[in-house]
Symmetry: C2
Subunit: 444 residues, 2 copies
């Protein structure tokens, strides 16, 4: 920091901001020469370019003034109506008045942090959980409480213990990022019963629910009748991300405050994009795109699982996700996934160490003083996921997945044999990690 000249004071929360671990791990990479299994970017080859061009032509002919003018902070009324109807189809009973259109689901998370979190408010999150949520929430300096989980979802006993006095529980019920897990129906019922007795807000983040490979996922949590909660969703994964449109919907009084916060934060999301999206939705784009996306991403998941089973050495485990975009991989405990990720990057393959998704003891190193772990006195539960990696399969085709996994496997093998390219650091963590309990874990 010695290069930074003195300047006037900033807010204390500025110290809670930092570069994204994504940027730290990926920023220096020569993207031209790499295969990325790091980001959650959809494959641009799936983008409905002609539909968007045709929708733009129609919108600018039919709504030329509305689409270029200011619009309501809540979002375009018929678009909110579409979301409400969609959510009712998911089993969540609500009206369009309970829907706020946001600039991607990321903005919904930021607004929820702003409206719900005081400094040191206890915030329950899964281990591991979505990095973007941690970034949004940490700005408001909550006390993050990591929930241990097994194959079926967050541990109910730990959840019950942590709920008392907590302000918000942030859960991804289906095909979670990064673990790929869904909360099993019986477990979801247990968690909802506990939530109903609590004084804690439920924030259900559900971006991947349409990307199922075999059968539609079980209902989420809000569909089970949790009253003090909201559903967060996005069009970025269901269609394409460039419009940056998502939503938050649910509890009426909370939505009223979120809308006021949205107005103060950016007045409204793009009018033109909202009209374009509405046109695409009315034109039936999701019904045309989703079947193709499901087949494509299933093929890529299969390609990755196939490559992993052929290339990875013994002692490496991974999840077998039934939807979403990610495989969660667990290395032998002697390896530090950060070293593996760094060595793979040098060989042109980008992956993210699982540590960046974890608010456990290890996560605190990444996330600084805003983090806390309710289970810090239980060394087993608090163990950081130092030996895990997230592998995104949605954005690369089969040959690139095959090549990337073979390189990654070679890096792992070299590290296991003490090759200097990937120096195995002594691992300070002991005990089981979240990945050890992954769904359908397969041995290589």
């Amino acid at each position: 920091m010695s290069s930074i000249l003195p300047h006037p004071e900033m807010a204390r929360r500025a110290a809670l901001l930092g570069p994204s671990p994504m940027d730290e791990f990926l920023g220096a990479a020569d993207r031209g020469a790499t295969i990325s299994l790091a980001g959650g970017l959809p494959d641009a080859a799936t983008f409905p370019v002609r539909d968007v061009a045709e929708a733009a032509r129609r919108v600018l002919s039919r709504q030329p003034r509305e689409s270029l003018q200011y619009g309501p902070s809540e979002g375009l009324a018929p678009l909110r109506e579409w979301v409400a109807e969609y959510l009712r189809g998911q089993g969540i009973e609500l009206q369009a008045a309970q829907v706020l259109i946001t600039t991607g689901s990321q903005q919904a998370l930021d607004l929820l942090g702003k409206v719900l979190l005081d400094p040191a408010s206890p915030l329950l999150v899964q281990r591991p959980t979505y990095l973007g949520a941690l970034q949004a929430f940490r700005t408001y300096a909550p006390r993050m409480v990591g929930l241990p989980e097994d194959d079926l979802g967050p541990d109910p006993e730990a959840f019950a213990g942590a709920l008392a006095g907590s302000r918000m529980a942030y859960l991804q019920p289906r095909f979670a990022n990064p673990s790929g897990r869904s909360i099993a129906p019986a477990r979801a019922g247990q968690l909802c019963a506990l939530l109903a007795q609590s004084d804690c807000w439920l924030v259900e983040d559900d971006p991947y629910c349409e990307l199922w490979f075999d059968e539609p996922p079980p209902p989420g949590l809000l569909a089970r009748g949790v009253s003090h909660g909201v559903h967060v969703g996005t069009f970025s994964k269901m269609l394409f991300p460039g419009l940056r449109l998502g939503w938050v919907a649910g509890h009426a009084e909370l939505l009223r405050k979120l809308t006021q916060a949205k107005q103060a934060a950016d007045l409204q999301s793009s009018s033109l994009d909202q009209w374009l999206l509405l046109e695409l939705l009315r034109d039936g784009l999701p019904q045309r795109m989703l079947p193709r996306l499901r087949i494509l991403y299933r093929e890529r998941r299969d390609a990755m699982l196939d490559a992993l089973s052929r290339h990875m050495p013994a002692g490496v485990f991974w999840s077998r996700p039934r939807g979403g975009m990610f495989v969660w991989l667990s290395l032998p405990m002697s390896l530090d996934a950060r070293d593996i990720a760094a060595a793979a990057r040098r060989q042109g393959v980008l992956v993210l160490p699982g540590l960046v998704f974890d608010v456990g003891a290890g996560g605190c190193e990444s996330f600084g003083s805003c983090c806390d772990c309710r289970f810090a006195d239980d060394p087993e539960a608090a163990a950081p996921a130092r030996n895990t990696l997230r592998l995104a399969f949605a954005g690369a085709d089969r040959p690139r997945i095959e090549r990337a996994i073979s390189i990654l496997a070679a890096v792992v093998r070299a590290a296991l044999h003490g090759d200097s390219q990937a120096p195995a650091r002594p691992c300070r963590a002991v005990g089981k990690t979240p990945a050890d309990g992954a769904v359908d874990v397969s041995h290589a």
Copy 2:
């Protein structure tokens, strides 16, 4: 509030959020039957619909993948380059790396609040000042300090006294909303000299600088070499607002933090909109649109000034703005502008009382406990602008302006004569108000 059911606790800052005074004053109006002089909406008849349609066609043909994919949080590189070059043309020396693209300038204000303001941080604002800025900043619970001003801009002595220990000075240097004033060159030099000796950030908000009627305005404050500052701007007033794109640019270290905050807040602004805007800029749209906008808005300003001078009774004063979108009107002290606005609304004319733009003693009523006035012990300086109105001339054509002003004038006359349609409330405020010192004030 009795209709609201109990729910879990929200953040303390949720109590600082409320409906916009715009919504409070305008929400119930039947917009079909009204003439609005209330909002800062541009005239939709000026929108370059064919240019946007053609740009959409080109972008989706040339950048089909980039425009529908995720993009950088900082904004599109060539768009940042355009803004940097534009600002250098305005006399502000900076590079594209010092530019962040935001979702309208409103988001820039929110991010500045987030990164710079702690609870009770002293924040200097003009009296009156932009309502949207007050809404963005109040979320962070600063101590707002109102700066009295005269025709030439904020009073230098008061500014010098308030600067010590203040965290941020928020100033609109040119054609300010709502007053229409510009800071005179000599005054700007004085303020900049004081800022240079201070430990206070300058936030210069300059959305209207291109909407001049007679000659380009004098340089702003940042162009005079203030090092600890940023410039906030928008394409909404220069072109059209539907894309919701603006910028914040300046101090490199502050921009780094703002970019991190932007990433946590919404990842990025719409990719498609940024590509569209870039195409429009490269195609020379501002050079084509601005001359027409300047002529159109000057005609409307003239129409409003003409109508005011023909219809308003003695004792009413108003500004003669040389740019921007607003006339600032001062009623006789016996009248409360809120009553006048309410009575005008009943007759189909929407205007905003000046009180909502003022953080003085009167503003505190609108803005609650987050506001404070350094000059509260000076009853004259702290007097709220109870007798002022903001009249937007940009969005209505000459016949509608003529009709609206004649109705408004009739309401004022009726109130002065004690007509029951606009009951004159006893005015608690005494002493001079900011409007009394408006530039080029004309007597009707």
